[in-house]
């Protein structure tokens, strides 16, 4: 930890060799662990693994596998800030490496006490400077201990464990997710700095409550209300406030969606939670403050706005067929399938707001490319829309040093391509990661809303009567777009040919 402390004082100082080594080795190790977790997900797609030698202490099921993959993906996408440094956003390899491993180990146990201890240890590694992290971990650990004490057993997989779940422990765990997910900054209007990994671990703990049995309707309502409020509030902030905290607001938005996913308490809800956290990983990789592959720059990270790049459209959620859109769609479709249209509209609006925030950055600095007199109708915008979004001076002050730009742009492009590829292949991911989780937690879920595979087309959301309420034919849409693009290309070629042959003929 001391090493991160030294470096944090001045990020421009050449890093010690050990840190540089760690910076190149840790992502490779995390990548290997991610592949292992994906293999684990493939192993448990039919039934959970419970090795007999572990005497019921270890259990690898769909939820564990899915959240291990998500936690490692988020750790890869967004290195964690240093634990004890005065500069809160300074990068440090230690928590970025150990926290995901501790969390994945905690997911593997059936012991509620070990899970609580893992969360506390993760909070400790992430730093005690901010009260949200340790309070969140303490609340969650307290909730888990209460469950165990009431039920008289420390293992969640034991049939009687469900007896221990009451409103108090549920409320403690929900509060923990909200705290670590950055909701205090939403309330107090501060620059958002959610604890991405800790909050992911807490979302796992929250979803693990489905293993204990069905939820009370009141708990579901509380989770829906709070989650939707958080998603809408964070979307509003992302759209209507400065660009500097955009990545943080987007992370809070996705955590809000994940809480709504728990509140829906259906197959569609769990799919929403998983997809929202995957979208979070991609958005943090593109817009976040730190990256494994990125040179640290001199501008204070918290005050730095994201780099404008057109590929950001693909992580905005404004483009159907990308992961953030699929996450938003799952929210709208899941709410609709549960019969809660108001929630569907609220989530739809927050998706559009969050997308507008990223879209603004994607095209920022390009406003001078259009023809000068582009003032439109008057009803579209107000009178003073000639003013550019961000002045040149501000833009240049926001941009990092030139050497960092290349790294940041490549991180954005990788995230954008992954977002598109994973978005189109969502049905495959869904079958690997989400379906086993939903099947294995079926006992705690309600039948109000289910997302199923639509073979060779995409995803279907079904309501309790198993009627389709929303459809996302992502594969079919992609093929159709490809055909139309080919047609459009042919037309342009034809027009160009005619122009070359003789102007005025066309």
């Amino acid at each position: 930890m001391g090493q991160g402390n030294n470096v944090a004082h001045d990020p421009n100082v050449q890093r010690p060799n050990t840190s540089a080594l760690a910076q190149s080795v840790i992502p490779i190790l995390l990548g290997l662990l991610l592949s292992t977790a994906l293999f684990g997900a493939w192993m448990v797609r039919a039934a959970p693994l419970e090795p007999s030698w572990a005497r019921g202490l270890l259990r690898l099921d769909g939820l564990t596998a899915c959240f291990s993959v998500l936690t490692l993906a988020i750790a890869l996408a967004a290195p964690q800030p240093s634990a004890f440094s005065p500069q809160p956003s300074a990068f440090s390899p230690q928590p970025s490496f150990f926290v995901p491993i501790i969390l994945c180990a905690a997911y593997l146990t059936t012991q509620l006490a070990v899970l609580g201890a893992g969360l506390l240890l993760a909070a400790l590694l992430l730093g005690l400077r901010r009260w949200e992290s340790w309070l969140a971990a303490l609340l969650a650990a307290g909730g888990l201990i209460l469950i165990a004490l009431r039920a008289g057993t420390w293992r969640y997989a034991v049939p009687d464990a469900g007896l221990g779940l009451n409103s108090l422990s549920f409320g403690l765990i929900l509060c923990a997710v909200l705290l670590a997910g950055g909701v205090p900054s939403l309330v107090y209007g501060r620059t958002p700095r959610p604890f991405l990994l800790l909050a992911t671990g807490l979302v796992y703990t929250f979803y693990r409550l489905f293993s204990l049995g069905p939820w009370n309707l009141g708990w579901m309502l509380a989770a829906l209300l709070l989650g939707a409020a958080v998603a809408l509030g964070a979307g509003w902030r992302a759209a209507l406030h400065a660009d500097a905290g955009l990545a943080g607001w987007l992370a809070i938005f996705q955590f809000g969606m994940a809480i709504v996913g728990g509140g829906l308490a259906s197959g569609a809800g769990l799919a929403l939670g998983a997809c929202a956290l995957l979208a979070l990983a991609l958005q943090q990789a593109a817009l976040g403050q730190g990256s494994w592959f990125r040179v640290q720059d001199s501008a204070a990270p918290a005050a730095r706005a994201p780099l404008p790049a057109r590929s950001l459209w693909l992580v905005s959620g404004a483009v159907p067929l990308t992961v953030p859109f699929v996450a938003g769609w799952l929210g709208v479709a899941g709410a609709m399938a549960g019969g809660i249209t108001v929630l569907a509209v609220v989530l739809w609006a927050s998706l559009l707001l969050a997308a507008a925030g990223v879209a603004r950055v994607a095209e920022a600095g390009r406003e001078d490319q259009g023809p000068p007199g582009h003032a439109d109708d008057g009803r579209w915008t107000t009178d003073d829309d000639q003013r550019p979004v961000i002045s040149d001076q501000r833009l240049s002050s926001m941009l990092p040093r030139p050497s960092a730009i290349g790294y940041r742009l490549s991180a954005i492009s990788i995230a954008a391509v992954l977002s598109l590829v994973l978005g189109i292949t969502t049905p495959a991911l869904f079958a690997l990661l989400v379906q086993p989780m939903v099947d294995q937690l079926q006992g705690g879920l309600t039948p109000f809303g289910e997302v199923t595979l639509w073979p060779w087309a995409g995803l279907l959301a079904l309501n309790a009567a198993r009627q389709p309420v929303a459809t996302l034919p992502s594969l079919a849409l992609a093929v159709l777009m490809l055909i139309l693009t080919a047609l459009a290309w042919l037309v342009t070629q034809f027009v160009a040919l005619r122009r070359r042959q003789g102007p005025g003929e066309l």
Binding site: F325, H374, R379, P455, W456, T471, L484
Partner: protein, 233 residues
Amino acid sequence: MNELLGALGLAWPRLLIYPGGLAALLSAWVLSRWWSYAGYRQLRSVPALSLIDLLPPLVVLTLLPLPPARSFPYGLDLPTALLLAEWPRLRILARSGGLAPEQLRTLIPPYALLLIGAGAMATALDSLELTALTRWPAALGDQMLLGIGMLFWLAALPALGGTTAELAWALRLRALTLLAIPALVLIGALAALLNAWIPAAILGWVLPPLALIGLALMLAGLARVSEPWLRRA
């Protein structure tokens, strides 16, 4: 896989002639002429859009469940259709600074109206699918809710630039798409009303243009009535 390929193989009339392709381009052009005649103002110029920006609204039009076309098994739903249709608009807004916080505030009321309309339609039909929009519900309450939802959607269009006589093809197609979605409701209602007297085959040919023309006339009237009021507001 074969199913998808088969569906796409049979979809070429949809792609090239109707409801996408030629029919879409022609009706989008006619509609934009009509808006400029009706008094909705024309954009002086818009930032250059590429041909790719034209495709998302065209895909929605291609996949619309409009009657005489052969049904296509892979339909869209309202959230996807709305985002695909709004793609050129979003591009323009992002590039011309229309998504800056101060400008964005002016967009929120009309979009809220649009989403409330969509939510009302979805509540009445218990579904977000576009194919469901053509099913006229049996209960009176649902019918009223669906009609109100459609009116909300239409009322949001003038403020959203869904009725401006744009010069760019992508925006023309967008305006047509935004009008065609509530037209599906009208087609369903008229079909339920008229199918006792007129054979379904004829209705299939007559209703889509009738619904589109009806809604375009209605919105043009709205422009004359409400534009001075909207301008003051």
